[in-house]
Symmetry: C2
Subunit: 341 residues, 2 copies
DNA sequence: ATCGTAACCGCAATCGTTTGCGACAATGTG
DNA sequence: CACATTGTCGCAAACGATTGCGGTTACGAT
């Protein structure tokens, strides 16, 4: 009365047939009598037979499992991406193995090792802030191993990438602030080695240029950590000066939230004295006071689309290399209280 | 010049030895000459040999993988738990397979199936809101399959459980409101079939009793969804009446946030007119206005501890059943602006 | 010359499943 | 009656690694 671990061999022995017969009977192969099929299926059902996925993986060198390498799980954007990944993977019968790098390169490399030795069918990657050398991914791509980069994408030949239009999002956000009459917009920038930070900064700068407003280097301040305290301190200082900005475009909502606190701590009012726009539409942004205007990234969609692409690659027959790709999903500017006066 | 997929056989063939010799040489078994060991290791290194984890799983019926079944990934509390799980699993050389149920029983059952057929070594479970029948878990436990329930724990014989002291957290929160002079405290309760909701409600009621305040049934309103709009509407209505409460203890922060908006929409002031305390310390709760007092649950710790317990169970030799357990972690009341006048 | 004894290594089974090929019987055909 | 055909099924190899047991050398001892 085995449960969940009866094997084909057990069934074969009990019915006095060979494992091949059982295997074929279960899949309705021709060449097996109806009588045998019936008996096999009956017993398989009774014993609650489930094929051993590990044996199948070994035999077929396919595990129906995809790996996800992600900087952090506790992050609203990434968790929505994971959710999208999980949905599509589940629909297609794939499992998801999760590796969190905590923004550490070493951990990322070790995760790639794990992935390889576990016969995982493909990989979804958003690399860590520390990652500047991509050899560990390059090797995979050269071997035609299915990899899709999302959000943070590398500059690698023949890679498949999906990201959001950070440039446009930043452009729209900045333009919106300008249209609201703000004249001196501070940009709280992200880590310099991430393309997404650069793109957002460029969007910011181009929006200023388009409006024929000066791009002042001292109005771009890097917030490498992206935590609240960082931007709080920066703004508490910058906005105390005589010649202060009258608006903020932040690289992400967390920085924007810290900035809002910093500005408020000086007695300045949002949005009357200072307009603020963030990036990513974190869960809290609609709940702060005033509600934070932000650029929403389609996290769930990214996860979905990245997984679709990956599964297509996995299931593509033959040995041809994958066609390199770069898909860019559009952002959406959510205008709320923090930037409308 | 294979990379990442050289097998023992390949090495054996290249060196004209048997696979057994290669296997033994790589693990420094006695009975292999130093010369052979050297050659084997050299080639293994050159070819970047990595043992095939799938083959190992099959041979040893152990996969060094643990499964996590969780209602939702996009949820601050659960994402911190996942993070804790991932940390400890990684430290011990285990992989993490993630299954999100989206609060659906059907999906949960299907995930359990997957887990079984994938030879996964053990399971961490927080079940869905729909789950009232636990047969799919019961079977596992009866087979002495390692399972640890966390946060939402079932009433099952011989199960291993870890959760937080919801009762005490709710008790503390309510007592705090009372000590601030609030006289009529509304409880926005959670789904009735979850023990955690019941425990929180009991904590609320006992705190009232201890203060010799009446427990009024109409001051306990269920918010099964736990989304903002739900509690927003409820509070926008309840607080419009003449005989209105003067404080709110919510089953979670999301409900509390909606409640705050509902109360504010009527022109009432927090904390002067109405005090509010939430539960879970979601990321946004310190950023709303005023900052939300809440009960913080040690999500990361739960994940860590649950995984430790699970790995101990997995690595416990022998067939003895696991000793049932119930570990309760303490919560911490975070007093912020929403409840101090 | 014979035997014992290390030292070193290979054979083959095993984990559970799939699958090409061949075996055997029953049946039909000439 | 001899042969081909069809319907059923089993054998064995394969996936990659491990491991008990046995085999082959070379060496020294008797």
């Amino acid at each position: 009365m085995k449960i969940g671990q009866a094997t084909i061999k057990d069934i074969a022995k009990a019915l006095n047939v060979s494992s091949s017969t059982v295997s074929r009977a279960l899949k309705d192969y021709p060449g097996i009598s109806d009588e045998t099929k019936r008996k096999v299926k009956e017993l398989a059902d009774k014993w609650n037979y489930r094929p051993n996925a590990v044996a199948l993986s070994l035999r077929k060198s396919k595990s129906f499992t995809i790996g996800v390498i992600i900087p952090e799980v506790v992050h609203f954007f990434f968790s929505t991406v994971i959710s999208g990944i999980e949905e599509v993977a589940f629909m297609h019968g794939y499992n998801v193995i999760l590796c969190q790098t905590n923004e550490k390169l070493k951990r990322e490399i070790s995760s790639v090792e794990t992935i390889i030795s576990n016969q995982i069918d493909g990989l979804l990657v958003s690399f860590s802030k520390e990652t500047t050398n991509f050899d560990h991914f390059k090797r995979l791509i050269e071997q035609h191993y299915p990899v899709v980069f999302f959000d943070r994408i590398p500059n690698l030949e023949n890679s498949v990438n999906i990201t959001v239009n950070d440039y446009q999002g930043a452009f729209d956000a900045t333009k919106h602030l300008i249209s609201q009459g703000y004249k001196d917009i501070l940009h709280l920038a992200g880590p310099r080695n991430l393309d997404i930070s650069k793109n957002r900064m460029n969007g910011y700068m181009d929006a200023l240029k388009e409006a024929e407003m000066p791009v002042k280097p001292h109005r771009i301040i890097e917030c490498p950590e992206g935590v609240q305290e960082e931007s709080f301190k920066i703004c508490a200082k910058v906005f105390k000066e005589q010649d202060r900005p009258d608006a903020i475009f932040a690289n992400n909502d967390m920085a924007a939230a810290g900035a809002m606190r910093g500005v408020k701590s000086l007695g300045l009012k949002i949005p009357e004295d200072v307009g603020v726009v963030g990036f990513s539409n974190w869960q809290f942004s609609s709940m702060v006071d005033p509600p934070l205007s932000t650029v929403s990234q389609p996290g769930f969609k990214i996860g979905e689309r990245a997984t679709q692409l990956l599964i297509e690659m996995i299931e593509q027959k033959g040995d041809e290399p994958f066609t390199p790709k770069l898909e860019i999903l559009e952002t959406e500017l959510l205008i709320r209280g923090s930037s409308v006066r």
